[in-house]
């Protein structure tokens, strides 16, 4: 028998249509990413076979979303791109959290000079809106998918510092932390046993939302020509090429864009649902 809390959470999640939709979309994208090469309609196009005769075909029964400028099936290329987008999105989020959360918890519990230093640095990074800073970093590092990832991690970590610091700071005043301190628990024990588990809910919610936003950001850089380079099957880069074939071959841009939208939507809805359950009092944005 599950605890009341767990049952309540599952009941809320199951009752919320949008959360279930989010979960379904995320599972769908993860499934495509895992099974990609085995489910695509044209496995030969994965590696980028050239078939000039069949280039830029309109959507048909054979090619649901048409073919691209070298005759590859667009749907195949987009499904293969799911793996890259998902990996990059999850990777950026994990790396940003791995940098930001320890720094934030440290700043929130340590106080004094450490806190000032960490938080001012955080403020500095947050003072330039994300994508502009990412572009500045990519301009310096040079375009490419790896540099785009590095730039986005550098842009993303301060958000986690803010969140973890605020949570740790508010927890520091909580009676049960004080009780643990009075009871003689070591600082590390307090951090590990009390502060971290209690800050986890908003961090999980933020990470779920951020995977979607990171996928969007990587695609944005790809679209601008500062991220993944063709012929890498990256959704943003594909749209950037498709743009050159507008408006006559308009369907080229539809499929990759729809996949970005659906995956970001999935992670956002899921994060939203998780927040309603795990962290009901926080702000939405």
């Amino acid at each position: 028998m599950l605890s009341r809390r767990t049952r309540l959470a599952l009941w809320q999640l199951g009752r919320s249509f949008s959360s279930m939709l989010g979960l379904g979309l995320v599972l769908g994208i993860v499934g495509l990413a895992l099974l990609g090469p085995w489910v695509v309609p044209y496995p030969d196009d994965v590696a980028g076979a050239v078939n000039i005769a069949g280039k830029l075909q309109a959507p048909s029964a054979a090619h649901w979303f048409g073919t691209d400028e070298v005759g590859n099936d667009i749907l195949t290329r987009v499904i293969i791109g799911a793996r890259l987008s998902l990996l990059v999105g999850v990777g950026i989020t994990l790396a940003a959290a791995a940098i930001g959360v320890p720094l934030g918890v440290m700043a929130g519990t340590a106080g004094g000079v450490v806190r000032e230093a960490v938080m001012r640095l955080t403020d500095l990074f947050l003072s330039v809106p994300g994508l502009v800073l990412a572009i500045a970093l990519v301009a310096a590092l040079g375009p490419g998918i790896v540099n785009a990832m590095v730039a986005l991690v550098l842009v993303w970590w301060p958000g986690y510092v803010r969140l973890a610091e605020a949570k740790a700071l508010s927890l520091r005043e909580e009676p049960f932390i004080e009780a643990a301190r009075v009871a003689g628990a070591s600082r590390f024990r307090i951090l590990w046993r009390h502060v971290l588990p209690n800050s986890l809910s908003p961090i999980i919610v933020k990470m779920s939302m951020d995977v979607g936003q990171a996928i969007l950001a990587v695609a944005s850089l790809g679209f601008l020509g500062l991220g993944a380079r063709p012929p890498t099957p990256e959704w943003g880069a594909m749209i950037s090429i498709a743009r050159g074939y507008l408006p006559d071959w308009w369907w080229y841009a539809i499929c990759p864009g729809a996949f970005i939208y659906v995956s970001v939507l999935g992670f956002n809805l899921l994060g939203d649902g998780l927040r309603d359950i795990l962290d009901p009092r926080s702000n939405r944005g």
Binding site: F17, S18, R120, D123, L124, F125, S127, V128, P129, G130, L131, V132, L133, I135, A136, L137, V138, A139, A140, L141, G142, P143, G212, L216, A219, S220, F223, L224, G225, L226, G236, I239, R243, L246, P247, W250, A253, P256, G257, I260, Y261, V264, L265, N268, L269, D272, N283, R284, G285
Partner: protein
């Protein structure tokens, strides 16, 4: 709104402190851009000298741009130039970055102001409505709309709108700020909508309004969505508050309960999101301006970044960062105007 408190002595001190803090942050930002520019693995001197330049030409370019000096000296020069409004020269075009920014920034500001107006005028009423009809179909619809608004890739959505409204329907122009046939007027503020009004030129106003609609809608969507969501959830909280129960018990009419008593309280967190979203919007201009060929700082930053030309990118970073700081300062002051507890604190 009562703004007289701004002249209070306490308030002057508060504003001064905030300005000083913004100054420190600005210096930090200057340092940050300098660091970013100097960790770059590529060689700006080589870029400046051109693709076919030999070793000696590259060295000459290096001297010409002051790139041969030690880093501390370069930094001092960078700060000194910035203090005089001099952002350096683009190595790709040789033009002054400061002058470029002055030309491009008003276009971006105009786009953002229009987009923010759309976000506020649609987001706040919709948020209020969905709070009032919580868990009813209207609320579910706005929720889907809001989450979609944040999830839609702006560059893709922009392309779709161009396709639909410009190519197929032909109602609106595809891209740019004005038609090729129209001579842009001598700038007053540089914002075409404002300038055309100042000059009393309704035809120009109509034309530039037509050009700004699509990019502004695309830019406003994520902002509108988050204003809507925050306003909704705050309104839900506020409508449940004890003071609303009391005001209802005392006979206050429903529309005033919602539109004044609850909304005023809900606006505090909404303001914070508006400040944050202003920054997001500034950064989304890089995508929207690219799609719509809007001649602003976003397009300028992207084209320079692709060319590996740092000075313009750093200039845009500084301008956008400064703008974001000012927006947050304004939000802080509006907080004081809205919340009497802060005024007395």
């Amino acid at each position: 709104m009562n703004l007289t408190f701004l002249f209070d002595r306490v308030m002057v001190a508060y504003v001064a402190r905030r300005l000083a803090l913004a100054g420190v942050m600005l210096f930090g930002l200057v340092c940050l851009t300098f660091v970013i520019a100097n960790v770059a693995p590529s060689d700006p001197a080589a870029l400046a000298a051109g693709p076919d330049a030999g070793h000696s030409q590259i060295e000459q370019a290096r001297r010409e741009y002051g790139l041969d000096k030690p880093l501390p000296e370069q930094f001092l020069r960078y700060v000194g130039d910035l203090a005089q409004g001099e952002f350096g020269r683009s190595v790709a075009t040789g033009r002054s970055v400061g002058r470029d920014l002055a030309r491009y920034f008003p276009a971006t500001l105009e786009l953002c102001l229009v987009a923010m107006s759309i976000g506020l005028l649609v987001g706040i009423p919709l948020g209020m409505l969905s709070a009032l009809f919580k868990d009813r179909w209207l609320d579910h619809l706005t929720r889907i709309f809001a989450v979609s608004g944040i999830a839609l890739p702006p560059f893709w959505f922009g392309l779709l709108l161009q396709l639909g409204f410009a190519t197929w329907l032909g109602w609106l122009p595809t891209s740019g700020r004005l038609g090729v046939a129209t001579e842009p007027p001598e700038p007053i503020t540089g914002m075409l909508l404002l300038d055309s009004l100042l000059r009393g030129d309704p035809a120009l106003f109509a034309e530039s309004a037509g050009y700004i609609i699509l990019p502004a809608v695309v830019l406003s969507l994520p902002c509108l969505a988050s204003i809507l969501r925050v306003n909704r959830s705050e309104m839900v909280e506020c409508l449940r508050a004890d003071y609303i129960t009391a005001a209802r018990a005392h006979g206050t009419v429903p529309w005033r309960l919602v539109a004044v008593h609850a909304l005023k309280n809900a606006m505090l967190p909404t303001l914070a999101i508006i400040g944050l979203r202003w920054g997001w919007m500034m950064s989304s201009t890089v995508l929207v301006e690219t799609v719509f060929d809007w001649p602003g700082t976003g397009l300028y930053a992207v084209s320079s970044a692709i060319a590996g030309d740092f000075k313009p990118v750093m200039g845009v970073t500084l301008i956008v960062g400064l703008n974001f700081m000012l927006a947050n300062l304004v939000v802080d002051l509006l907080y004081g105007a809205l919340d009497p507890r802060l005024r007395d604190a």
